[in-house]
Subunit: 141 residues, 6 copies
């Protein structure tokens, strides 16, 4: 992508896509989401690039669904998927960021229990507690 | 539950719970949901009872989350879960019933692809097409 | 549910259902199960209510399947599901409580490997070891 | 494995393991299980060999768990796994073969709903109906 | 994205990304992959766009992993995921397209059984048979 | 299997199968794999036996697929499966052992994201980091 003596148009394009994606990610997921991308930077920077450029820049920023609706779908998917508690925590935080209340989040978890069973829901409740506690004890954010 | 000579209080309670659940299910899932319960009546009536009484009467009818939000969570969970296309179809219909547009439903599926991959999303799109086509060709509903 | 000046009939009904469910849960899952419900009490009390009232009061207490058989099904489901180790531990404890031996539990795990692969089975074995060790070192229970 | 002019000891060993496994499989899964193995014979004979030799000869035939218990674990795993309806049908038949009643099988499905949600349970009920109907209409078996 | 009187730079960029992605997809998945994208065109064109532009243009075309290795990872993922047989069939075809033999594909399926159990492997074998049969009977491709 | 006064032929056969499997496992998974088997020895020795005898001796050692290809399939399956991070770590180490580079492993993870979503891929990246760090800091291995 980087020819000698210059920067390719594809590299510039991807830089623009990543910057746009990062700004969307920062708006929705806040610091917790940025930390995930940053933590991928040394080992799997391409994954971090595409989470930002594709996941947030291309998909989350589409006008066809409001941010609240997107986070509800995300929570439904992650609770059902299971085994992704750190990512679930980031998106519980994102849900709070777009205006979904704590009471609604626990209601989302109870609702999802009908479709993916109680164990996933109990697990998700403990993830939610960790997020809420972190928010209560954090100096800012 | 049914003592000789009468009907137990638990049986009456469960009858009331089921009636309430059926009315909620009918309001949200419409005819497609009722057909699922009816189709369970001969072989696993207790499952049908609890889908209605617990899933709809106890959970869907709780005030803490609006019907639109509940269907978004349901879609997120079912797309991620996979392998439940008939149930996904019922709930795509339910999403339409509570006012989620066809465009939003396909956007939900695209959004979920970030969290559970493209194959689940392609599969869900085909399920959505079947529901939309049925609605277009049905005389009423 | 609680009108001013009194308690609604639904609230009384749910209180009775929860009490019954807690007694079933206590009998089968013992202290570990009660701790799960108690740990949900502050954040998602409705989830705790329905795990007890529906999961244990309505389902586990049905006469159509003996407690040993129910725990075998539960173990098969939780091992296959994966990613729910704390819940798996509670139900390994419940299996011991209803008379399934340690040797049978490890045999259950080996058997499940045919259907959900070795990694889930290895994971489940480590969960079983934690439960067995806790029992060996606990002063009572 | 087959040196020129003879049969290797490993080949003889595997033949014995397969024969033993087939006899166990035939006893438990009956004709439906044999048909699965036979249907693999042209394309993936090694898979068929190991399902029989390992899955049935090595695991199902171990003395540490009775056949009824093994089928309960199998059903719990397959209902939770989802997306394996043909295999679920074979094992619902196997459950009948080892003496688990139709009423118990539907109860197993209802029970599993607590751990893996209603959609998997509804799906499994339809699989059970197909097995029961086949048994009712089959001339023998 | 489309200002009055012209085409936005983003629309041109996405057109270029899609064209590139389609050419990669066509090379790897062949006609079966193109048919999937085309079948999404009316209902969820954005999903088709991103499968091509992101999945194939951005990811499959990266130099860090050869096409054979990518298809082996894809098969491992899809067999474990389950419930995505049409997509599995497309990628079994893609595996053949990049030079993985039929014998290797059935070996891949047997190998995956260790990690995700026999039912998924049996299911995948039947999907492979359908692909092989279609190739044998198709006039060309 | 062990009659009084002697060792059964089946016990000798299984001993040979286990020894062979252990040698294959040791060659591929190295010390990390051996530690898994050893850690099962007290509680579920039969599971350890069959992971070695069947998983490695019977399957991994088959000639139809080279070790590199087998590990790529394994990684694809384990990333998609989720919730098996310790086993994923063992197999990331095995991938390194058979000559798959660190850059290829992170590319495998990025590639799998198309099929099982970003959360599983992010999780797998963190598992890979742990393995790489352990290798960098270990005195030998």
């Amino acid at each position: 992508m980087d020819p000698p003596g210059g920067v390719s148009i594809e590299a510039l394009r991807e830089l623009a896509r990543r910057r746009h994606g990062r700004s969307v990610l920062s708006r929705i997921d806040g610091q917790a989401g940025e930390e995930v991308i940053d933590s991928l930077a040394d080992l799997n920077p391409a994954l971090g690039h595409h989470v930002a450029a594709f996941g947030f820049g291309d998909i989350h920023d589409r006008p066809g669904l409001d941010p609240r609706s997107r986070q509800l779908v995300t929570l439904g998917s992650l609770i059902a998927l299971g085994g992704c508690e750190p990512q679930l925590k980031v998106h519980i935080g994102a849900a709070l960021n777009v205006g979904i209340s704590r009471e609604e989040i626990t209601e989302v978890i109870l609702h999802a229990a009908c479709y993916c069973g109680f164990p996933r829901a109990v697990h998700a409740t403990f993830a939610a507690r960790e997020v809420f506690t972190e928010r209560d004890t954090a100096p800012a954010n």
